[in-house]
């Protein structure tokens, strides 16, 4: 019998040697004439165990990891049998505690299937949402998404159904679906994992969105820092087109939908939806004034649904299992699940999909196992470079859009970056301003000038020049940026800065070291 062996092609798995492990598996199988089929799957999201090697057994899949090329021969010697004595043996994959307690809806298939096999995709529930959507009216699909309570997973948390409803109501014959795959927030990689590990779910979600609002074309804007994701999506779109899941006549329904891929060019601001649209049109990534909303006047001036990868990839399960099923997960006004990304100084970094309501403490200690360095945790930044820095005392905060907003933070795209006690929050606040200055599109003054002034003011605070007055000035500047910026870059940069000052005031009141003074 052919043994199915799985080694991930996810870029993060490759970054610690999965490609060499896969090649070694192939080479040794050939040398020993072993009857194996090597599947290059997405990642299960347990990155501290990558390169993870899984084997299909009578009792389900079992895992070994992290595997080095030199370990592969030994695995063949043991015939990949479940062996609790093997130093790399992790047991049945699904029983690994990190995975076992997750609620994977959007990531249901990621790491399990061959990402480019339509048969595999269908065998694991794929295209069921689309099949149902093809029998429904656009209004009924939009209603299902609205009822599910799905909110934009890119960061802003705007209800997806309301966005879709606005586009549905427009009468223009040309409309677009745009997928924002410009995942620039540090500490996030869920979009990348989906595009590499289960690209058809994104294609299916975009197609359903197209059917819902009456759009025949979609664009995916992928950041250039993700070459693996871009290549994988290119292959997946071609395969879907060949199989009749994209094109002029989707599965014999007579309805058209096709997808084009575009590559970004290293501008963080293009993750802002209107800057992204400008970039897709071939212009500088300058943000647009709103109104008009993209839903009314978006790509090439046409009504446009623009959603993040995870928002769109969550649509198929909503259509497949129904709004009530999805809505049943979560708390308050945050419904469904959130793919959370544990990042930075964390022992067990990876993807945890859980219903809203899970606390930071559970995520960081029960899933993440604490810091990678073993030193005490001092700060976490949630929601990317525009998210707040929280101290240990706020770790019992539940992941919930409203709960985070109440603490002047944001859930954002669900990235959690952990810092140990070596972090200097004054430096982190300075970086937030510096990053804003580097990435500002320059359209509005509070962001363009304010960020540079912010770096200077923080430099003076660090250098102990008139600290009290400069802290007041910084607060005032943050207020101007918050209220006066046109988009979230200038408008949210004050979040990391002010949270650092509020929760870690001691870092802004340190004696000046001689090295720093010179």
């Amino acid at each position: 019998m052919t043994a199915r062996i799985y080694v991930s092609l996810d870029a993060a798995a490759l970054s610690v040697g999965a490609e060499r492990v896969a090649r070694t598996v192939e080479r040794i199988a050939e040398e020993r004439r072993a009857d194996i089929a090597l599947v290059r799957n997405g990642s299960r999201g347990m990155f501290w165990l990558e390169p993870l090697v899984e084997v299909e057994t009578d009792a389900g899949r079992v895992a070994f990891g992290p595997v080095k090329p030199a370990d592969v021969a030994g695995l063949f010697d043991a015939q990949f049998r479940p062996n609790t004595k093997h130093k790399l043996y992790l047991g049945p994959t699904e029983e690994i505690p990190f995975l076992k307690r997750q609620e994977r809806l959007t990531f249901a298939r990621c790491g399990i299937t061959d990402p480019l096999s339509i048969d595999d995709y269908k065998a694991h529930g794929g295209f069921r949402g689309l099949r149902r959507a093809l029998t429904m009216t656009g209004a009924a699909i939009v209603d299902e998404v609205t009822q599910s309570g799905l909110r934009g997973r890119g960061g802003a948390g705007f209800p997806a159904g309301i966005k879709w409803q606005t586009v549905l109501k427009t009468t223009d014959p040309t409309k677009y679906i745009v997928c924002n795959a410009d995942e620039g927030d540090s500490g996030t990689y869920a979009d990348r994992m989906i595009m590499e590990g289960d690209p058809f779910v994104l294609i299916e979600g975009m197609t359903i969105a197209g059917l819902a609002v009456g759009a025949a074309e979609g664009y995916v804007y992928i950041r250039s820092e993700y070459p693996h994701a871009f290549r994988q999506m290119t292959k997946a779109v071609e395969i879907a087109r060949d199989a009749g899941y994209l094109g002029a006549d989707i599965q014999g329904s007579g309805k058209p939908f096709d997808i084009h891929l575009r590559l970004g060019a290293g501008a963080y601001i293009c993750g802002e939806e209107t800057a992204l649209l400008e970039s897709l049109e071939g212009k500088r990534g300058m943000i647009r004034y709103k109104p008009p909303l993209p839903a009314i006047k978006g790509l090439f001036g046409k009504p446009t649904v623009i959603n993040n990868v995870i928002s769109l990839a969550s649509v198929p399960i909503v259509l497949d299992k129904g709004a009530a099923f999805y809505k049943d997960f979560g708390m308050g006004r945050s419904r469904g699940t959130l793919p959370i990304q544990l990042a930075g100084n964390i022992k067990q970094g990876g993807l945890v999909e859980k219903a809203f309501g899970v606390t930071l403490r559970e995520l960081i200690y029960e899933y993440g196992g604490g810091t990678a360095t073993g030193r005490p945790l001092r700060a976490v930044q949630v929601g990317g470079p525009l998210g707040a820095y929280f101290p240990e005392g706020l770790l019992d905060l539940p992941l919930d859009y409203e709960a985070f907003a109440a603490e002047k933070g944001m859930v954002g795209h669900g990235g959690i970056v952990v810092f140990d006690d070596s972090v200097d929050l004054a430096r982190q606040a300075r970086f937030a301003m510096e990053f804003c200055a580097i990435e500002s599109c320059g359209k509005c003054t509070p962001c363009r000038i304010g960020s540079t002034r912010g770096v200077e003011v923080i430099d003076r605070i660090i250098a102990d020049q008139d600290r009290a007055a400069n802290l007041t000035l910084l607060d005032d500047l943050c207020g101007t940026m918050l209220d006066g910026s046109l988009c979230a870059l200038g408008g949210l940069t004050p979040l990391p800065v002010q949270s650092a000052v509020k929760h870690f005031p001691e870092d802004f009141d340190r004696p000046v070291s001689r090295a720093a003074a010179e």
């Binding site: 970054s15 540090s186 993700y226 575009r262 990534g285 990235g415 970056v417 970086f431």
Partner: protein, 159 residues
Amino acid sequence: MHSYSHWDVGAAQSLIAERQDMPGALLPILHALQDRFGYVDTAAVPLVADALNLSRAEVHGVVSFYHDFRKEPPGRHLVKVCRAEACQSMGCERLVAHIKQRLGVDFHETTGDRRFTLEAVYCLGDCALSPAVMIDGELHGRVDPARFDELVAECGKVT
């Protein structure tokens, strides 16, 4: 390692012609030029402007807006180091200092022997395995100074 062609007007024109009818063709064209030549030659600006019925200023404005587009050919190996928060939490600034010293260049510079160009990036999406470095499109996680030196040595084997 990338192998780039020398700047060639004819080749540039055909790359442009193949893409000029795409909706929003400018970024795909600039990427195609940079993939072929390693940078966007200033001589390409009027060609692109003509093809897309834009002013040269508009094309220049786009080339200069995006961090990716280079105006000069890079070294044989392109090293991108992540400096964003997740990598900061794992000490990427110490790695950055090591890399600058090891290669003898600052960011956006190319070594004298034209082997390496060093760039900073803000997030490579490998945030659970920080610090991350990308060399010639290959992603590397958990990179410490010793690992970086190994990677540089591996580049040496293929040049």
